[in-house]
């Protein structure tokens, strides 16, 4: 009954929706100019009425439809054109249409990321660029991670390291791939015994670390006023137990998923610096996660904090 959707959302956000931001995210292939600031506000609605209990896809009428709404403010700043800092702080609210369990709401995890663009090869036919992103996130409220599927997050610190490569043809069509290692520490439950393929006599739960891989195909249209992209993302935990039969999930679970997504970002010519984006994500397969459909929409505004210095 519990899933790592929050985390997934966060990821989707970072990988997908927000990556529409020219202003970039930890996982996209975009960089801000020096002194350029981007402010983004994204809203996401994640719903599911089926989930994987281990590998069994099932419904649970005592949950009905689980809805997870996320409001995600984010900022990105170009320290140089090759080194950017990104920060995000989601607010999450969960509720179920069925059953008598109360949902949860509050601030989730604060994430901060540093992104570096070491190499770029430009040719007439197109360009190949590479990026490395390192990130860290940690819970900022006392939400209970051991309250699946309502919990706001995994309640763990996460260190991430991601490598990204992108090839963009001169026509504006691009292909991007990335691979990340997500190292999670532990989370604290409010009980000193739990069962996860055997007994644990501690309040501490090991949250499995995971890998995340993405492949995306996109393109720029109308003189780069419109960006379209479709992607495939897989996420695999390196360890963990399964949700037990008719039981709630817990942060120790092995949460895996594969998702497809599509997104669109539009830069209206009349509103300088503003972009509008919408996204759609579908979980196509999984383990111990909800079979989510995620709709997202947001606005970004980017501008120079300081005027570029004139060339000598």
């Amino acid at each position: 009954m519990r899933f790592k959707i929050y985390y997934f959302l966060f990821l989707v956000f970072l990988i997908g929706t927000a990556n529409l931001l020219k202003a970039q995210t930890p996982s996209d292939a975009l960089m801000m100019e020096k002194n350029e600031l981007c402010i983004a506000m994204i809203y996401q609605q994640d719903t599911w009425d089926e989930y994987w209990e281990g590998s069994l896809l099932r419904e649970n009428k005592n949950i009905g439809v689980l809805t997870r709404n996320t409001i995600l403010p984010m900022v990105a700043y170009g320290i140089t054109s090759k080194f950017n800092i990104i920060a995000a702080l989601p607010y999450v609210k969960t509720e179920a249409s069925g059953g008598q369990m109360v949902g949860a709401s509050g601030l989730q995890d604060f994430g901060i990321f540093a992104k570096y663009a070491p190499y770029e090869i430009k040719k007439e036919s197109g360009s190949l660029s590479t990026f490395v992103t390192g990130g860290f996130s940690l819970p900022v409220s006392s939400y209970l991670s051991d309250y699946m599927p309502f919990s706001l997050g995994l309640g763990t610190q996460e260190f991430s390291l991601r490598g990204i490569a992108k090839y963009e043809h001169k026509s504006g069509i691009y292909l991007r791939g990335s691979y990340a290692y997500l190292h999670r520490t532990t989370t604290e439950a409010e009980r000193d015994y739990y069962y996860a393929d055997g007994s644990y006599y501690t309040t501490t739960m090991d949250v499995p670390s995971a890998s995340n891989a993405e492949l995306a195909l996109g393109g720029w249209l109308f003189n780069r006023a419109l960006q379209l992209e479709a992607g495939y993302v897989t996420q695999t935990s390196f360890s963990g137990d399964d949700i037990r039969i008719q039981n709630a999930g817990q942060p120790t679970n092995k949460m895996d998923m594969a998702t497809i997504n599509g997104r669109l970002r539009y830069f209206p010519s009349v509103l300088k610096g503003i972009s509008i984006m919408v996204g759609y994500t579908d979980v196509v397969s999984g383990r111990n996660v909800g079979k989510s459909t995620i709709l997202s929409g947001g606005l970004t505004y980017q501008f120079m904090l300081k005027k570029p210095q004139s060339q000598p």
Partner: protein, 518 residues
């Protein structure tokens, strides 16, 4: 640009830091069992063989052969064999000796708790909205038998602990009757990995505990027979490798333990548990009787609706000590819609709207729901820690757990008697739109099982460890409150349960007072 150099350095440092953090926290070494150091017993209870048994008719109801003479060649050969095994001990075997320690009661209780947690899963609905219940005659057919819910688990803990206690009283009787000296007294050169005592060595109390526990748990968790055999083999081997016993001590203990377990399992077969989970017509008649009597009735609120509550006739299961269940049945709860009811309902709504971090923690700490050891298991853990703290010998340990678990199962029986007699609706049913942070169980509200179990456990623990009374009473109170914070019980459920549990425990404590133990 020089700034770029800094960036390179930053990236390098970050990568390095990541690797360091990764390798460090990869070793998330979380405890899989309760750690305790083997200890020297606070006392040996030389007169333990004269104590009154709970269920066995006499200490020699199960007979064992007299041991060989300590100066016989047969015995010397056994010692030589033990020494050879000790000399070739692997580090895994040494770990096993330390794990089992010299009080296997603690580990067998832990194993029982783990099985309770493993099997404490409620059957899911079928595709057509019906439910299938576990079948004791066909345990491996899904849903697997047993569903180790709190009544089932309370009974499992009680049978195991009572069997251990009765078997150990017989063990003490034989130990002092036959008087085979402790091994180190016969051969001072044997290497002993655990603290030794002057307790006579035949039969091995560890082997008795192991056999009796394995037999009881194998009957109550039939799909775990192989696992229990492997644990039992390891425990028996550890007894030899510890340097405290020879093979004949273990063999005799094994035989005694099996014999006692068999007698207790005969009681279990006829205690009424097999009728506790009733078919729907009986369940409906119980429900209707309450409605006629009181004008209310509890109905399961799940979707699809579970047609029968959990074990409606657990209240008819044979008690250990309570002689009159009606005498300990609490008074009629407030009429729904009455001032007293509304007051309790308002409290629940107020908590649900303004729950504090502390209340949430208490609710979760005592939640003890599916996939846990249940509230009786929670108390077994607390009691088990006291066995170590007070350095109790196996006999004293078994006595503590036997009385506690008898009282706890009787509390469960009494609580279930009240639950299905009054058939009182839960807050989610009686308070429109009410939601809480805990899942509501599949049985009526009044009285609270947690409160009744906890008060009974606390009363026995306070009797045995008077210095701990304030702690155990506070825990019982907290467990009772936790259900209110979780939104699944009214305050009057918890308060009545605490009184009921305390009264129920008196019956068992009165037995303990006259069992001969000082």
């Amino acid at each position: 640009m020089t700034f770029n150099k800094y960036i390179y350095r930053f990236c390098f440092l970050f990568a390095l830091l990541s690797v360091v953090i990764f390798t460090q926290s990869c070793e998330k070494d979380l405890p899989r069992f309760v750690a305790f150091e083997p200890y020297t017993y606070a006392g040996l209870d030389d007169d333990g063989g004269t104590w009154k048994q709970v269920h066995m008719s006499s200490v020699e109801q199960i007979k064992i052969d007299a041991p060989t003479d300590p100066f016989s060649d047969a015995y010397k050969n056994e010692i030589a064999a033990a020494k050879a095994a000790i000399a070739s001990m692997t580090s895994d075997e040494e770990d096993a000796v330390k794990y089992w320690g010299n009080n296997p009661i603690i580990r067998w209780n832990e194993i029982a708790r783990e099985l309770a947690a493993k099997y404490n899963l409620i059957p899911p609905p079928n595709a057509d909205g019906t439910y299938t219940l576990p079948d004791p005659a066909n345990p491996s057919k899904f849903p697997y038998f047993p569903f180790a819910h709190p009544p089932y688990s309370s009974r499992a803990y009680a049978y195991m602990s009572v069997a251990q206690f009765d078997a150990l009283i017989a063990t003490w009787h034989y130990k002092y009757k036959f008087g085979r000296p402790a091994l180190h007294k016969i051969d001072g050169t044997i290497k002993q990995l655990l603290p030794s005592s002057d307790l006579p060595s035949y039969p091995s109390d560890g082997a008795v505990v192991t056999a009796v526990s394995r037999e009881i748990l194998s009957a109550l968790f039939p799909l775990e027979k192989e696992y229990l055999k492997s644990k039992s083999d390891e425990a028996k081997e550890a007894l030899i490798l510890s340097g405290l016993h020879v093979q004949s001590d273990v063999t005799a203990g094994d035989s005694l333990g099996r014999g006692v377990a068999k007698v207790l399992l005969q009681r279990a077969a006829g205690d009424g548990m097999k009728f506790a989970q009733t078919p729907k017509p009986i369940s409906d008649s119980i429900k209707n009787a309450a409605f006629v009597r009181f004008g209310w009735q509890w109905t399961n609120q799940e979707s699809p609706v579970r047609p029968v509550g959990l074990t409606p006739l657990f209240g008819k299961v044979k008690t250990w000590s309570v002689t009159d269940l009606v005498a300990v049945r609490p008074p009629v709860p407030p009429t729904i819609g009455s001032a007293d009811f509304n007051k309790a309902a308002d409290e629940l709504k107020n908590i649900a709207d303004n729950i504090t971090a502390e209340q949430r923690k208490v609710a979760n700490w005592w939640s003890d729901g599916f996939n846990t050891t249940t509230p009786p298991g929670h108390w077994n853990k607390l009691a088990s820690d006291y066995l170590v703290k007070y350095k109790l010998n196996p006999l004293r340990s078994a006595r503590t757990l036997a009385y506690m678990n008898m009282a706890v199962q009787d509390a469960g029986i009494s609580c279930w008697d009240a639950k299905y007699y009054y058939h009182y609706p839960r807050p989610i049913e009686a308070i429109p739109g009410f939601k809480g942070i805990l899942g509501t169980p599949n049985f009526p509200s009044y009285t609270s099982g947690h409160s009744t179990f906890s008060a009974a456990a606390a009363a026995v623990l306070a009797y045995i460890f008077p210095a701990e009374k304030s702690f155990v009473d506070a825990w019982a109170l907290e467990a009772a409150e936790s259900r209110i914070y979780g939104g699944i019980h009214y305050r009057f459920d918890s308060e009545a349960g605490l009184v009921q549990g305390t009264q129920v425990a008196e019956y068992t404590i009165n037995k303990a007072k006259v069992d001969g133990a000082k």
